[in-house]
């Protein structure tokens, strides 16, 4: 009965018996969710790989339409955001002030938003102007064969889905900032921070795979 737990820590849910049980359940739940996500992106990676082998030259030409410098900048931005996320968790764990935790979280938020801004302003917007978006602003001519169009499809599906995950991540960070400000976390209870951190790192890792797959491999280098 509920009465047997004299003092509930904040955020403790009725269906659990102990705080540890709740924390473990949350962690396991997030790991399983991430497994699901791997399969979700995995379906796309599989399709990408199959078509890349079918249309190698066109995929290489498509890849040349992307701007490596912005992709690389964004990679750096995301890796930094993972660091600041980890520092936010660390400072909650070691009992640093709420201000410290919130600062790291906000910095993470800003880096995530910077990623999206760069993607939108310098990449997608340019693609739109130059007619590289299949189904939206596709200027089919210019020697672009169907394989190139397919490459661009995959580019937009994959980066678009990744961006959606980033937007969800920004929402989660916002909630975490509010929760921290309301004194919900302590060195004894910061599971939501940790679990959200797992998600944030996962979204970064997806990008770590997307960046070489879309921007780097195939014929970028002198002599190839």
């Amino acid at each position: 009965m509920a009465a047997t737990h004299p003092a509930h820590p904040p955020g403790f849910a009725h269906q659990f018996e102990t705080v540890e049980q709740q924390r473990d359940a949350g962690h396991l739940g997030m790991w399983i969710f991430l497994a699901t996500e791997i399969l979700f992106f995995g379906g796309m990676f599989t399709a990408y790989t199959v078509y890349r082998s079918l249309h190698l030259q066109e995929f290489i030409r498509g890849s040349h339409e992307l701007l490596v410098k912005f992709g690389a900048t964004n990679t750096a931005v995301l890796i930094c955001s993972s660091l600041t996320m980890a520092l936010a968790i660390r400072s909650a764990q070691t009992g640093k002030s709420r201000g410290t935790v919130i600062s790291w979280l906000l910095l993470t938020w800003v880096l995530g938003a910077a990623f999206l801004a760069i993607k939108l302003r310098y990449e997608w917007y340019r693609d739109w102007v130059e007619g590289l978006i299949p189904g939206v602003s596709w200027m089919g001519g210019g020697g672009h064969t169907p394989g190139v169009k397919m490459f661009m499809c995959f580019y937009f599906f994959m980066t678009g889905l990744h961006a959606l995950h980033m937007v969800a991540g920004l929402g989660i960070l916002t909630v975490l900032v509010v929760m921290t400000a309301r004194k919900r976390f302590s060195p004894n209870y910061y599971a939501p921070l940790e679990i959200s951190g797992l998600y944030w790192h996962f979204v970064d890792i997806v990008w770590i795979f997307l960046f070489p797959l879309l921007y780097l491999i195939g014929g970028r280098y002198p002599g190839s």
Binding site: H14, Q21, A47, P134, M150
Partner: protein, 548 residues
């Protein structure tokens, strides 16, 4: 455990609060289970009506009712609704939601809010598909193969695809919730090898939910984008490969077959033990056979593509792998029958369904071996033999188990008993009607009648009329339980906590259970199915053998 709980508690999960809002915003796993029950019953009725119309149409060789285009939409709606919106959620989302916390000794699932969200996602998916059906339906079959569904589609593919996409997330979240619940919420002493086998089966099912469903989600997503934006992912005209769609589709949809049958197998393990009053024969074999079925299910998808241009060697490998599934399936059937041996068997309605399941599943499973063989599959592919085979698994297997489970746990769900005689009669009617419907289809398929055709050669008429006659009997068999179960909710006699004298934590608490399930979290000290041993010769006065 010897103290009897009161026959009907004053406050239980059903009467703890009233009003629509208390149901639509409930976080109680038992109520959410009932929300699913109502939703999938509605979907079953819609899908069943489509089937009824199809069987009526096929009474005459030239088709009695529809234009061929309409017939295509009928079987597509039937397939989509029955597979994605009835069979896949049937046992896990209703009985699983209701029973898992009760059976493992927990107050709720690990994430009750997520659980409610799953239901809302599911309802949203249902809404899209019903809208789709009303606004004209799809004519692609439930498999959505491009280019039927892309280049040449004349129907509302996108709404149906979106419905499946959304309902898929409901499956994923339910699976996630179940896995975490089974890992982390078990009562003290409820070790993995004391878990009821229903829990093992749902655990294996949840693995498929979590690992398979995202792939169909992304596949359907790509298909929808291809359709909306006219970009060719699966369109050969722009370099796409329709076979890739089939690979990705079956990577999920073959494991999905086991999403439908594995929970049913779990229910049967509960029913067979409860009504033969014996410990299951070979507990760990049955438990691990569930897991191995889940694992093998992911590597056999190519047997759906033997005649679609897949490489011959890939076909050989998929054929061999498909035969492997027969091993854990047979382990289960043999262990159930071995459990029956020298059991103290009684034939209440749930047991009739369980025995029906064993027979029908065996036929369905063995005919699956015909189809896993490359050479016979070339002959039988695309005929009614396939239709009969998977209906023996999905209706003869999964639906029988679902109904058996509903009849078994109904007294727990609403605290009242249904009329046993009517239940037995309807179980018999369903068994007879089912066989009359689908056995002729094996013969039709073997004789060469193709599936999905709105017209057929006149020499097939006798068997088709038999099948349609069987379908009407089957329909009656499904209506009777609907009537008496609803009747019993109000007028049935009070069931008491354990009307079957069955083992298991869910039978130690009042019926209907209180919102909290357990007044105090139980401590488990015995194995599952620890029924008193029956040794009539050695111990004439064996009633004294105590249950712990």
């Amino acid at each position: 455990m010897s103290t009897e709980a009161p026959a009907e508690p004053a406050v239980n999960y059903l009467n703890a609060s009233y009003g629509i809002k208390s149901w639509l915003l409930t976080l109680d796993h038992k109520r959410i289970g009932l929300l699913y029950l109502a939703t999938i019953t509605l979907m079953f009725v819609v899908g069943g009506l489509a089937a009824t119309l199809m069987r009526l149409h096929l009474v005459e060789p030239q088709g009695a009712l529809f234009e061929p285009e309409t017939y295509n939409k009928m079987f597509s709606s039937h397939g989509i609704i029955m597979v994605f919106f009835f069979l896949i959620p049937s046992i896990p989302a209703t009985l699983g939601n209701f029973c898992i916390p009760l059976m493992i000794g927990a107050r709720d699932v690990a994430f009750p809010r997520l659980n409610l969200m799953s239901w809302y996602l599911f309802v949203t998916g249902c809404a899209f598909v019903l809208y789709d059906t009303i606004s004209g339906g799809v004519d692609t079959g439930w498999t959505f193969y491009p280019p039927y569904s892309s280049l040449y589609a004349q129907s509302h593919v996108v709404a149906a695809a979106l419905g499946i996409f959304i309902a898929g997330f409901s499956s994923i979240l339910t699976g996630l919730n179940f896995i975490v619940t089974i890992h982390k919420m078990r009562a003290p002493g409820m070790t993995w090898f004391r878990l009821p086998l229903f829990i093992w089966a749902l655990y294996a099912t949840s693995l498929i939910f979590v690992l398979g469903t995202p792939v169909i989600a992304v596949t359907v997503f790509l298909l929808g984008l291809e359709r909306l934006l006219h970009v060719g992912i699966f369109d050969p005209a722009v370099g796409g490969d329709p076979l890739l769609f089939q690979h990705m589709f079956w990577f999920y949809s073959h494991p999905a077959v086991y999403i439908m049958i594995l929970p049913g197998m779990g229910v049967i393990s509960e029913l067979i033990t409860a009504f033969s009053r014996k410990k299951i024969f070979g507990y760990s074999f049955v438990a691990f056979s569930s897991l191995s079925i889940a694992v093998i299910s992911f590597i056999v998808w190519g047997h759906h593509m033997f005649v679609t241009g897949q490489a011959l060697y890939a076909g050989l490998v998929f054929s061999v792998l498909s035969f492997l599934v027969a091993i854990p399936s047979a382990v289960k059937v043999f262990n159930w029958t071995a459990t029956l041996y020298r059991g103290s068997i009684s034939y209440e309605a749930p047991m009739l369904y369980a025995l029906g399941f064993i027979g029908l599943f065996t036929i369905g499973g063995l005919t699956g071996l015909f189809l896993a063989s490359l050479a016979t599959d070339v002959h039988l592919n695309g005929t009614y033999f396939i239709v009969a085979h998977f209906h023996y698994i999905m209706v003869g297997g999964a639906v029988m188990a679902y109904l058996g489970g509903i009849h078994f746990w109904w007294p727990k769900i609403c605290g009242r008993l249904y009329p046993d005689m009517w239940a037995r009669i309807s179980a018999a009617i369903i068994f007879i009607g089912f066989n009359l419907t689908f056995f002729p289809q094996f013969m039709l398929g073997y004789l060469g009648m193709p599936r999905r055709y709105a017209v057929y050669a006149p020499e097939f008429q006798v068997l088709n009329v038999l099948s349609s006659a069987g379908a009407s009997i089957l329909g009656i068999g499904y209506v009777i339980p609907l009537v008496y179960l609803i009747w019993s909710m109000r007028y049935g006699p009070i069931a008491g906590p354990n009307p079957w004298k069955a083992k298991g934590l869910e039978w130690t608490i009042p019926s209907p259970p209180p919102t909290e399930n357990f007044e105090e979290i139980p401590i488990v000290t015995e194995d599952a199915y620890n029924y008193p041993a029956i040794e009539p010769h050695a111990y004439p006065d064996s009633q004294g053998v105590a249950s712990v």
